[in-house]
Symmetry: C2
Subunit: 212 residues, 2 copies
């Protein structure tokens, strides 16, 4: 498939590029910095160097899937704005499917409260809190969208650089590996995303993934 | 002030144009149909004929206020998309102030439930329900926005064409006139909007207005 990856040179994005290409897909890396992308990716990678907020429908309409692995640089609201921009362009269109990499904050803990609630309790006045807050809003927003083919994934509390090993899926819960840690590697998350792209089972849903 | 009015030829928009011009403001009518606007408005009115989803920052940045009185033609989601488009453009900008004309569905009834809840109970499967539903989402969305100078107003359950008479304001409640009706005229709503524009008292808040 033709897969566009927004934020392709980032931590999550580069794991997604690697996994998609290992599975034989045609990757378009949507990036801020062409030189960085050219150094990082093989010649088989199409590079679209453009500010995400300048993306047009013509840039995206021939792709089968657009994965949004955008990382804001401290301006958390950009997560919400970019989701709204992509959704607005994709209304009532058969493709591309939109795949959102969310944060973990909207996952639920054993007591039924969200991770976000714990974060807000512990660090309400820290500026960085705005990013998990806005990404939780992004998930609320997505749940209102019924005429776009979207799927979203949340990592776990610890989302760490690391290879593809083995993993299992969940829906809305904080989950734990065999050692009791809520953790997932970038490689495992990327593989779970590509599994879902190749065999869709979560239309207009968010799911999550944890290391085994 | 320089006031842009999206949907200026519509029922709400035309009342807003009339009230703004009566108070001496410079109006830019943002409309789909130039001919209709030229027939409807005085020569003092600047007309910007453009699809709302094609509006750019250059179109809006010199205005003091943009009033969004957009009426979708059955596609309720466009209310949410247009709000997100305007907010995204206005992030961290000192002007224009954004003024949203919402529906009444997000107002609360005496028992604490929203009008929307009653509408969904009575008519969940009617296609028209999507518009009040999406306008309620639009208000939820606006409450997440902290770096844009926005204000919103809801009419009452009955929002009827009619002149400016007299009115009073509320915050989040369904309210009633002296005859026990939850009703407001377009003229009274327009006057309440212009009062707020001239003397801002509801920054990043929604308020409501009812006939006396």
């Amino acid at each position: 498939m033709k897969i566009g990856i927004i934020g392709a040179t980032g931590r999550t994005g580069s794991a997604l590029v690697q996994e998609a290409q290992a599975r034989g897909h045609e990757v378009t890396a949507i990036v801020r910095n062409r030189t960085k992308a050219e150094q990082q990716f093989s010649a088989a990678t199409t590079i679209l160097a453009k500010d995400v907020f300048a993306l047009t429908w013509d840039d995206l309409k021939d792709l089968d899937v657009v994965i949004n692995a955008f990382a804001s640089r401290g301006d958390g609201y950009q997560h919400l704005d970019l989701a709204a921009k992509l959704v607005t362009m994709a209304r009532n269109q058969p493709q591309p499917r939109l795949f959102f990499i969310l944060g973990a904050a909207s996952l639920k803990q054993a007591d039924g409260t969200t991770l976000l609630a714990s974060i807000l309790k512990a660090a309400a006045n820290e500026p960085w809190v705005d990013t998990p807050l806005q990404q939780a809003h992004e998930y609320e927003y997505l749940q209102w969208i019924h005429n776009v083919n979207w799927t979203a994934i949340s990592p776990q509390r610890d989302f760490v650089p690391g290879p593809k090993t083995s993993y299992h899926l969940g829906k809305d819960q904080v989950m734990f590996n065999s050692e009791g840690q809520s953790t997932v590697t970038t490689g495992n998350l990327a593989s779970a995303v590509l599994d879902e792209i190749e065999h869709p089972t979560h239309p207009r849903e968010r799911f999550t993934v944890v290391d085994n």
